[in-house]
Symmetry: C2
Subunit: 338 residues, 2 copies
DNA sequence: ATGAAAGCGCTAACAG
DNA sequence: CTGTTAGCGCTTTCAT
């Protein structure tokens, strides 16, 4: 590795015949520098190909201009065919890009990587940390917040940490109840559900919404639990069909699981929506192309990412008006599957 | 932002009643420290919750323990329904995780972000830089390599930079020729192609392979160019149908475009594969579930990521046996669409 | 085996 | 408006 000597501030200063401080001012865009000197410095910077050393700068400014997004999932999961993560990342990315902050994406699906990520954040590698797809009562957001690192979450934390953390979430309950009501209006009465993982707020809330809606209608239904993946949707659907072969509708807590359910129903010889109505939750692009196209509850995932990033930018710039909780609306999108 | 005082090496040293140097040795796992002292230091570290300041450490070691993956694409593109990027990232991630290096993912789809990424790398924020999905003759890999930053590319650089850069690629030509030969063996004679973007090696090589295979068979065919997206596949297929309504096969340079082509053929009332055979390139998971399931050339994208990461790890650890060029095999996967 | 001391490259008072 | 001067927190010779 031939790490050629990179020019320092000192070198530029000598070349331009000024002090280091002056070069620093020019490089950082101070306006209180004489034009002639500024031009001379810029020329020297150009000639030497000078780029400030970030470590040295961070050491004194205590800032890195970069922000981490931590996903407590394996890379295989984050970068699978599940379109939830890409959407969050896209939203975050859009805002951070606009603010000229560097996004540092970190997967923390294993205990080892979880630790590594913790050390990374604690070491001051980033100015703030955003979390998405949190499981259970992860102590990390709380501990980072406690030691003074700005933290924001996408998805309401399951157990509110002692240090309150700003978050953004969507209206799970409203979306689910609209979905179930739609099924009821269609005359469906044997409505089952495939719930999401019960260590995640999105899984818990959507199941709660389903139960409430059914109870309000004086009905009960069968429940199966998945983990938001397509495969778990297949399994859960088979289970539900075994428990109640006469079911006529199923509310599925994610589009990926719903696609699995469609496949399982097809395998079982059921027609959708003639025999069984299916409603998902997400509204991914591909849900328009499934067979049949999926009726689903749309949640604004990209907006969640954007909102979370905006909250973070507010925190790191000491804005005082950072909303502690933002809840975005959901909406039923009707297609052929229900 | 309540940045609570983080303990420094100094604080730990005082607490343990030793010098900073000794604490540094313990923290960095030096073996030449008396057991009693080591335990005392570790206790102090624990009590104070000490975590080394990365900026200070990097300033002296000149290393950051993190590696960048630069994708010269917009975040919207990287995190869309295209499964190429996730697969590369997954591969890279697996290797870096094992080596306990931090992955820094950077999108550089705009001129502004391209500049930002360049400054970021030059500022010594990372120990090395990996590129994937390169367009045209991007000067960035070359300039980074020239100033001594380890660089590796996924996909052979279009114009070999003066500083040779290790890369990994797949056998585009072999894959394409097998695809075309398969179509010929099926009796297809009016074989068109939807090529990839001609500013990318993957686009150019696959088109070249198609032309060669057709010429060898004494045939000619219609060509349309897309940009690897589904939408461009739809458009290109419509164009090809207009140019040659009697075409009986189409080799498509990516699975996403092939899915678009399937859709366009369906819209045009053509049956696949009865009227028109379709072959894609990638072999994404979803291609097994398309209608009909897609015959395609499988390329080992995850392996490309892994290989590239291994090359990088070799470079940053000064291994001398880093292969300059690795070419991975491709394979025809036959399903119902051809 | 441990400590003292010298920076790594930069920014930010503070003078002038 | 510009230069001088102190460090930021850490690693690493060099002595001891």
């Amino acid at each position: 590795m031939v790490t050629r000597e990179r020019p320092t501030l000192e070198a530029v200063a000598r070349r331009a015949g000024v002090s280091r401080a002056t070069v620093s001012r020019v490089v950082n865009g101070s306006t209180t520098v004489a034009v002639a000197i500024r031009d001379a410095v810029n020329a020297a910077v150009e000639e030497l190909g000078y780029v400030p050393n970030q470590a040295a700068r961070s050491l004194v400014t205590q800032r890195t201009e970069s922000i981490a997004l931590i996903l407590p999932e394996t890379a295989s999961r984050v970068f699978s065919d599940d379109l939830f993560f890409p959407a969050v990342i896209r939203g975050v990315s859009l805002e951070l890009e606009a603010a000229d902050k560097q996004l540092v994406l970190m997967m923390a699906g294993s205990v080892a990587s979880h630790d590594r990520v913790e050390r990374y954040a604690m070491a001051g590698h980033v100015d703030g940390v955003m979390f998405a797809s949190m499981h259970g009562a992860d102590p990390l957001p709380g501990s980072l917040a406690r030691i003074g690192i700005p933290v924001v979450c996408s998805g309401r934390p399951m157990s509110p940490p002692p240090t309150p953390i700003p978050y953004v979430d969507v209206d799970h309950l409203g979306g689910v109840s609209r979905a179930v009501e739609f099924l009821l209006a269609k005359g469906r009465r044997r409505i089952a559900t495939i719930a999401g993982p019960q260590d995640m707020v999105a899984g818990v809330d959507r199941l709660k919404g389903y139960r409430t809606a059914l109870r309000d209608a004086g009905l009960t239904g069968h429940e199966a639990v998945g983990d938001f993946t397509r495969e778990s949707g297949v399994r859960a659907m088979h289970q539900l069909l075994a428990e109640d072969p006469a079911l006529d509708a199923v509310f599925v807590a994610s589009d990926m699981m719903a696609h699995g359910a469609l496949q399982a129903l097809r395998d079982a010889g059921r027609r959708v929506p003639d025999d069984v109505s299916v409603i998902g939750f997400d509204d991914f692009e591909i849900s328009r192309y499934s067979d049949p196209p999926l009726t689903t509850v749309r949640q604004p995932i990209v907006d969640m990412g954007r909102t979370m990033a905006r909250q973070m930018l507010g925190l790191v710039t000491d804005k005082l008006d950072v909303p502690q909780a933002v809840v975005l609306p959901t909406e039923l999108v009707v297609r052929e599957s229900a």
